[in-house]
Amino acid sequence: MKQKNRLVVFGRTDPNQPINFTFNGKPYQGLLGDTLASALLANGVNVVGRSFKYARPRGIVGHGPEEPNGIIQLGSGSATVPNLKVTQVELYEGLDAKSVNGWPSVNIDVMGLVGAFGRLMPPGFYYKTFMYPKKLWMTYEHFIRKAAGLGKTPTEADPDTYEKLNQHCDVLVVGAGPAGLTAALEAGLTGARVIIADEQSEFGGSLLASTQPIDDQSSTDWIAQTVSAITAMPNVQRLSRSTVFGYYDHNFLTILEKRTDHLGINSPQGARQRLHRVRAKQVVLATGAFERPLVFAHNDIPGVMQASSVSTYVNRYGVAPGEKLVLATTNDNAYQTAIDWYNSGRVVVAVVDTRQATNGPLVSHVKDLGIEVLQGYGVIQAMGSKRVRGALVAPLNENGTKVTGPVEQLKCDLIATSGGWSAAVHLSSHTGAKPIWDDAIVSFRPGISKQQERSVGACNGTFDLAQGLLEGALAGSEAAQLAGFGDGQVKRGMPIVNTLEEQAQQALFLIPHTLPSSRAPSQFVDLQLDVSAAGIELAVTEGFESVEHVKRYTALGFGTDQGKLGNINGMAILANALGQSIAETGTTIFRPSYTPTTFGAIAGRDIGELFDPERYTAMHRWHEQQGAVFEDVGQWKRPWFFPNQQETMHQAVNRECMAVRNSIGILDASTLGKIDIQGPDAAEFITRMYTNSYLTLAPGKCRYGVMLKEDGMIFDDGVCACISDNHYLMFTTTGGAAGVLAWLELWQQTEWPELQVYFTSVTDHWATATITGPNARNVMAKVCDDIDLSADKFGFMDWRDGTVAGLAARVFRISFTGELTYEINVAANYGRYLWERLMAAGAEFDITPYGTEAMHVLRAEKGFIIVGQDTDGSMTPTDMNMDWVIGKKKTFSFVGKRSLERSDCLRDNRKRLVGLKTLVPTAVIPEGAQIVNDPHQPLPMAMQGHVTSSYFSANLDHSIALAVVKGGLNRMGEIVYCPAADGSSIAAEIVNSVFYDPKGERQHV
C-alpha cells in the first residue's frame, strides 16, 4: 500500500516492517516505529475527528500529549479503550481505531450544521439556553451528551491485569530528554538509587527529532551513547512509556508505566499497565516544553499544525504531512521547521514572521535557501474546509495588534505555526508552587516549591540546548548529594553543542484580523472544546475577571489535553481583555493527572475478592459446606441464613427463629470484637468509658454497658466480663471493634495516662459458638462436666472457666435472643471442632444453625437495639429507653455524661424508641420508612420519625418494627402511617418496643 506522505529518509521508523491497521473502518499501512498519528499523516488522512461543540472537521495538530483533536477509541468489546490521543498510540499489527466524535462519520457529520451556526453558541450557551424550564434539563442533557460526547466506556469487565508497585529512590528524574539524561547520568554516577521515567517509547525527548549535532555526532547517536552509559549502572532504573502523572505531598509521585499497550489491545503477557508509587528523596523535573500555537481565524482547519510537530514528523517518522508549507512564526526557533521541510524535498511557500526585521543565523540560513521570508506579516486566516487550501497573510503593525495593509492569499496545504515555547510547569505546580510569568522568555517558570525538587531544561524556561544539558548535570549531582551521595560535583565533561544565536521573539498571543475578534471568523484558542478568542473576550464583557472563573465559564482547558496548547494563549487574551498583564492575571492551577490515567492502573489488583480483605471465622468452611448464604459485616463474612433445599430466605429465617424459641439454635459469634483489658486501674478506666459502673463487678460476673462519645451519643455497646481482679474482657460490636480500641487508647494515652491499664485486641484469638433456646442447658450438659450448670450456681450474666467438648473454654451466660444462652469461647483453632461436637450433641434436640438475619429478628422481638442500625450517632441512651444503663452514683464523670444534660438532650419531643405493630399483620414496613400522622397531608408532610428495624416475626405470627418517634413514649396505642413511594402507606400502632417475653423471664431460667 502506498503511503503518499512517506519520505525516503525514514527517521526512527523501519521501512522493512510494515504494519496494517484500520482507522474508522478503512485499512491502512504504517511502519514499525510509527505512532498512529504519524501513520495517518503518512497516508494523507486529513480529518481525524470533529470538534466537541461545533462539530468542525479537525486534523492532527501536535505530536505528543498536547494533541487536542486526534481523540480515538481503540478496539471494541471488553478491551476497548476510549479517549486515547493518536499521537500517543504506538502502531501495532491489527490496530483498530475510531474517532470518538463525529456521527455518522467524521467526513459527513450532521452536527456540522451546528458549526455553520457557531456564532449562536457562545460560552455558557447550555446554561443560558437550557436552564428553563428546569424539569426539561434532564431531557436536554441526554441529547447534548449524545451529540457531543467523547469515547464510550467498555460495558464488560476489563480482561487485562494491572499492577501497583511501591518504590523508594534517592533521585527520581522525570523526563529523558537532554536535561533529564544528563541529570540521571550524573546522579547515577554517585551510586544513588535513581529512577528515570519518560512517557515516550524511547529515551531522548526532543532530541529524537533533532538535526542538531552533539559532540560531533548526531543527536540520536549521542542519545544511544548516553543511554548505554546509564544502562550500565545497576543503580539506575529506566522506565520508558512511563508518565509521571502526579506529584503529591512529601515527594510522593505516581508513574503510569504502559507495559504492553504498544503490543496490542490485550496484554499478551503479564500486567498491561503498572502504577509505580514512588517516594523519592529528591526529584529532578525535566519535562520539557510545549510549543504555543498561533491563534488566527480558522486556525482549526486540518493542515494547521505546530511547527515543532511538523519537524518531528519529518525527522523522526519520515513523514511529510503535506506538500506546500507556509510557516507562521514569532521567533527564530521555528525557522528550523522551514529548513527541515526544505530538506525533505517539499515546497516552502513562505515564512511569515510577525517581527518587523530579523536577521539571526537561522533566518539568514532560510533566506540563503531561497525561501521567501515575509517580515512584519501575519497569517490572519486559514482557507479551506477539510484541508487547508491557502493562507491569508497581511502586514501587521509593530506590536502585532493591527492589520496595516492589504491582505493577500498564499496557496498552501500546510500551515505550521509557532508562538514560542511554554515551559511544562505542570508537575511543579502539583506541589503547590505557583508558576511565575517571565516576560523575557514569554513563558511561565516553575515557582518556589516546598518539596525537594528542582526543574531543569525547557520546563525551567531554559530553552537553549547547551544550557539545558548543563543544568541537568548540575541538578543530577546536586540532588544526589542532598540525598547523601557524591560530592555535588559534575563528573562528566559537558558535550559540545554549537547552538545558533536566536534573536528576540515577539510575545503575540492573537494574530489580528481585518475584523475585530467578535466579527472575524472564529480564532480558536482551545481546539478540543471550541473556545475562541471572541468567547474569552465575551466572558470578560459579561463580567468575569478571575482566570479560574473564565476557565469554567468558557471550558478553556477542560478537555482531555487539559489545555496544554491553548491555556497560555487563552490567559494572555484574557489579560489583554482585562487590560492587565499576564503576571497579574496568573494561571489556573494544574492538578494531577498530567495525562489521563486508566482506572485499571489505579485499581491494580485491588479488585474482585482482593478489593478488601475478607475475614473468616474458624467455622467458615463448615458454614460454606452447609450452603450458608453470607453477608458482609465490616470485613467479616458472616452466615446470613442457612437455607435447606428449596427454601426461600423468608422460610429459612422463620424456621431458624422458631427453632431458637422452641428448642435450640446455634450461632457463630466469633466475630464479636474482644478487647482484653488489664492493669490495676482497669475497673476505674472501664467505668469512665461506659455509662454504668464496673467497680463492684466481681470475677465470674458480666455486665452490659453502653459507650458514648463525648457528645453523649451512643457509640458502641456490649458486655464486659470480670476475669479476675485487674483483668477484664470487653465485647464490642462486630463492626466497631477497631474503633473502640482506638477510642480506649485515645483516652488512656492523652487524657488519663496516670491510669495503669493496657488493651489488647483478642478478637481473632477466640472462636465463639452461641447455643440458645430452652434446650441449651441439656446440650451443654452433654459436652461439659466440670461446670455446675444449675441456675443458682451459674446464673444469667455469669461466666465460668471450664472444659467443653474436651477443650478449655470460657462460657458466658449472656443472651441476645432473650432465651437461655451459653456463649462458649475456645481457642480459635478449635472452633470448628467445638462447633461439630455441639451439633452432634444437639442433634437429638434438632439443633439449628442460624445466621445474622434470624439473630436480628430474635433480638428485635426482644426490643434489643443494634448500635448503628437503631442508633445513628444522634441517639442518647434515654432516646433508646435505656436510662437504667446510666450509672447515677458514679464518682467520676464518665465520657459523655455532661452532654446528656445539654438542653437539646433534655427536649421533650426527642425521638424515642418504640415498637410498631402493623394493622395488617403480614405487612412488613420497609426499614428506613418515614413515619407521619396523616398520609393524606399535603406535601411536605410533618415527619414524626423513622423505622429503624423491621421484620416478620414467625414466633409472634405478625410483623414487628422498631422505630424512633418524636415523643413516642407518650403516644402508645396511636396509629401512625409509613408512606411508600407509590402513594400507598402502611398503618401501624405504636406499642412497647419489647414484643416477646416482656418480663425477660426466659433468659433467667
Binding site: 505531598d249 516546598k450 477497631a738 487508647e745 485515645l746 492523652t750 487524657e751 455524661k897 452532654s899 445539654r902
Partner: protein, 96 residues
C-alpha cells in the same frame, strides 16, 4: 500522601498506617458538671481551622497503636515536627 514520623517507633512511615486524631492540646474540663451548656459546647464542638501552623494528634493505628502530636503547616502540608503527648511543640509560628 504524607510521610509521618512516629516519635514512638522512631521512623517515618506512610500516611496509610495512621489515622487522624484531631486538634491537639485541648484540655478536657476537670469538672464538666459545673460548666454551662455554652462552656461545654465550646469544648465539645469548636476547633481551630488555621491557615498555617496546626498542632494535631495522629494515631499509629497499624503500627505501635500510640497517639502522638504533629505540627503541620495546613497550607503546604509540611510536617514540621512530631512530639510526644504531654510535651509542648517547638514550632509555633511559620518560619520560626
Amino acid at each position: 500522601m504524607l510521610l509521618i514520623y512516629c516519635p514512638h517507633c522512631l521512623e517515618s512511615r506512610e500516611e496509610e498506617e495512621f489515622s487522624y486524631g484531631g486538634e491537639a492540646h485541648i484540655a478536657r474540663p476537670l469538672d464538666p458538671e459545673n460548666l454551662s451548656d455554652e462552656q461545654w459546647g465550646d469544648y465539645l464542638f469548636f476547633r481551630k481551622n488555621p491557615r498555617g501552623i496546626h498542632h494535631e494528634m495522629w494515631y499509629h493505628a497499624t503500627g505501635c497503636r500510640r497517639y502522638f502530636n504533629v505540627t503541620r503547616n495546613t497550607l503546604t502540608y509540611e510536617i514540621l515536627e512530631s512530639y510526644l503527648v504531654g510535651t509542648e511543640p517547638q514550632i509555633t509560628e511559620v518560619g520560626v
